[in-house]
């Protein structure tokens, strides 16, 4: 489904990603972990099409298409969804109106008729239940004055409405208490299916208790330095990142 090959990216002349390789197949959940500043969020942003980042090497194939050649909105229409670490407040645009526009723009891209108001509302209500999102939030301006937990829940709600093929969760657990974390994880899990894949970017293992990954990758200094089964996350939780850093540095010295 997603194939990242030697991806390099920089921002303001500083190289952050230094050759990322990753294969994600339908149905899989991949966790990307790593210490602060290792490039986790950059990877998520580059995949979603954030223009501040300059791709300096490599390529990304998503369902047979060159992902990096598509605009952010085209990637979304092709089925990529990024749950933001810091969801943006947009005064004056209600969540419901925003989502209606998004759903219909994506349908237009895919040659489908727009959803009529009644069907859209019905669908949205069902999805809101899924993440236990209060209807009243839908009528409020997008994320404006929302608590941290409400913002993250809104991200998962949007994901449920847009039904992406590949969901990328960027530090979705940050700033969440355990109840909010559980609700968010439930939402994500309910969307798991053999056709869909998820990339969970996180600093802590905590979220992975609820969203159990098939693979864990450790990102450090812009490269994936270690990959393994879900147990790797437990090891990281127990031992921290220092032993990985030491391994990488030892390797660098050997070279």
């Amino acid at each position: 489904m997603l194939s990242i090959n030697g991806l390099r990216a920089s921002i303001e002349g500083k190289e952050i990603l230094k050759g990322i390789n990753l294969e994600v197949k339908p149905g899989e959940v991949h966790a990307i972990m790593g210490p602060n500043g290792s490039g986790k969020s950059t990877l998520a942003s580059v995949l979603a099409g954030r223009e501040e980042y300059e791709v300096t090497g490599g390529n990304v194939i998503f369902q047979g298409k060159e992902l990096l050649e598509l605009a952010a909105e085209e990637r979304a229409a092709e089925g990529i969804f990024l749950a933001f670490q810091y969801p943006v407040e947009i005064p004056g645009v209600t969540t419901i109106n925003f989502l209606k526009t998004a759903v219909n723009e994506i349908r237009k891209y895919n040659g489908e008729e727009p959803l009529d108001a009644a069907r859209f509302l019905k669908m949205v209500r069902e999805k809101a239940k899924l993440v236990r999102m209060n209807d009243s939030l839908l009528k409020r301006a997008l994320n404006e004055g929302f608590s941290g937990g409400e913002k993250k829940r809104n991200e998962i709600f949007q994901m449920a409405v847009l039904e992406p093929k590949l969901a990328i969760l960027d530090e979705t657990d940050s700033g969440l208490d355990i109840d909010a974390l559980r609700i968010v994880a439930e939402g994500v899990n309910s969307l798991r299916s053999p056709e869909r894949a998820t990339i969970v970017v996180t600093h802590y293992q905590r979220l992975l208790d609820y969203i159990v990954p098939d693979f864990v990758h450790v990102l450090y200094k812009g490269r994936i330095v270690k990959s393994g089964p879900k147990e790797l996350a437990f090891e990281l939780e127990e031992k921290g990142y220092d032993w990985i850093k030491a391994e990488v540095e030892a390797e660098e010295v050997n070279q």
Binding site: G49, A76, F81, I90, G92, V93, F98, L99, T101, A102
Partner: protein
Amino acid sequence: MSTETIDLKTKLITDFHARESVMNGEARSAFYQKKRAALAQFDELGFPTPKNEEWKYSNVRDLISASYNFNTSDTLSAEDLIDLKMPEQAANILYFVNGHYNAELSKMASSSDQIIIDSLQNAYKKNPELVNSYFDELVKDDNDAFTSLNTAFAHDGVFIHVPDNQTVEHPVILRFVSDARKENIGSQPRNIIAVGKNAHVKIAEAFRTIGEERSFTNVVTEINVGEEAGVEYYKVQNESENAYHIGTTQVRMLDRSHFYAATVTLNGKFTRNNLNIVIDGERCEAHMYGLYFPDGTQHVDNHTVADHRKPNSESNELYKGILRDKSKGVFNGKIFVRPDAQKTNAFQSCKNIVLSPEATMNTKPQLEIYADDVKCSHGTTTGQIDEEALFYMRSRGISKPEAMSLLMFAFCADVVSQIKIDSIREYLENVIAEKLSEK
């Protein structure tokens, strides 16, 4: 000074004296003496140049370089108005064609014991003392050439009087239409609004143009807000590419009154709006909202004054602009807090989105505070569209133009949502949505 400047000024002064010479006794009235004094002031001041600090960024050279016919009679029929697609609503709707009241097109919805609405001319004929007691009283110290010019030629417009304790259910909508199909049209409507104690009313002024020739509107509105009264006042401009508009709205508020203003400029070649509020009472609330959306080479200038003269009142101001192409915007917001006006709260904010490198916005907040126990703040921002918001929307599949248009509509909604006359708010939402989809 160019020769054209002298031409229009001289022409107007000559015109004034020509009218005077055929008057029959009326020239001796107190009303007329005010007009004569105003003409003398206009003569002395002359049209402003950019050397005048108040007109630094707004040059009227182009406006006064042409001649205008100020003396047309009614030239419009109901059919002519269809294309303007003006919204219908249960309201008192008055039409002014080239500045002259048109009774045929107008309709009233409120009873006359709730509100007196008449053309200035008729009102003066019926009750000269009453009209004269308000006429020019609020603007006589204005020291502005255009205001003086309007006073000198004040002939028609609206006279509204809301008696004490009346809450007028139906809004009053004043539609000023310039018929510039055949020639350059000048009009100088003069509006007098007096709202009694504990009376409440919503009033809108809407300015439109038909035809491609020039129109020059020089409007003055005087609004007296009585004790405990509540007035909502909206000014909506959606004129032609050849429309020049100069307007002054002068307001005086008494104790415990509320005044809400929204000034929305959607189209017009050259627009200058002065909104001056004298808060001459305690525990008053004055709110000023503004929105301007010029494109092409349009020019929109908003000058506002919140003049706090008594203690314990509040003024709150939010002006917003979107500037495209080579358009120019000017915002000058003055706040005066006089020595007696302790415990004043005065807030001012002006936010602009400049969408083209060739568009310019000049903002100038001006605070003069002579009392020591006050809360005042002001802020202006001028920038592009919020990139982070744009990316967020695009990451959900919304195309860039659609995302921009949603964001800009939301930006405008802050001001538009303040308008409490449904048909006008909906009309504005439609026109703004249309303007946003143009490019």
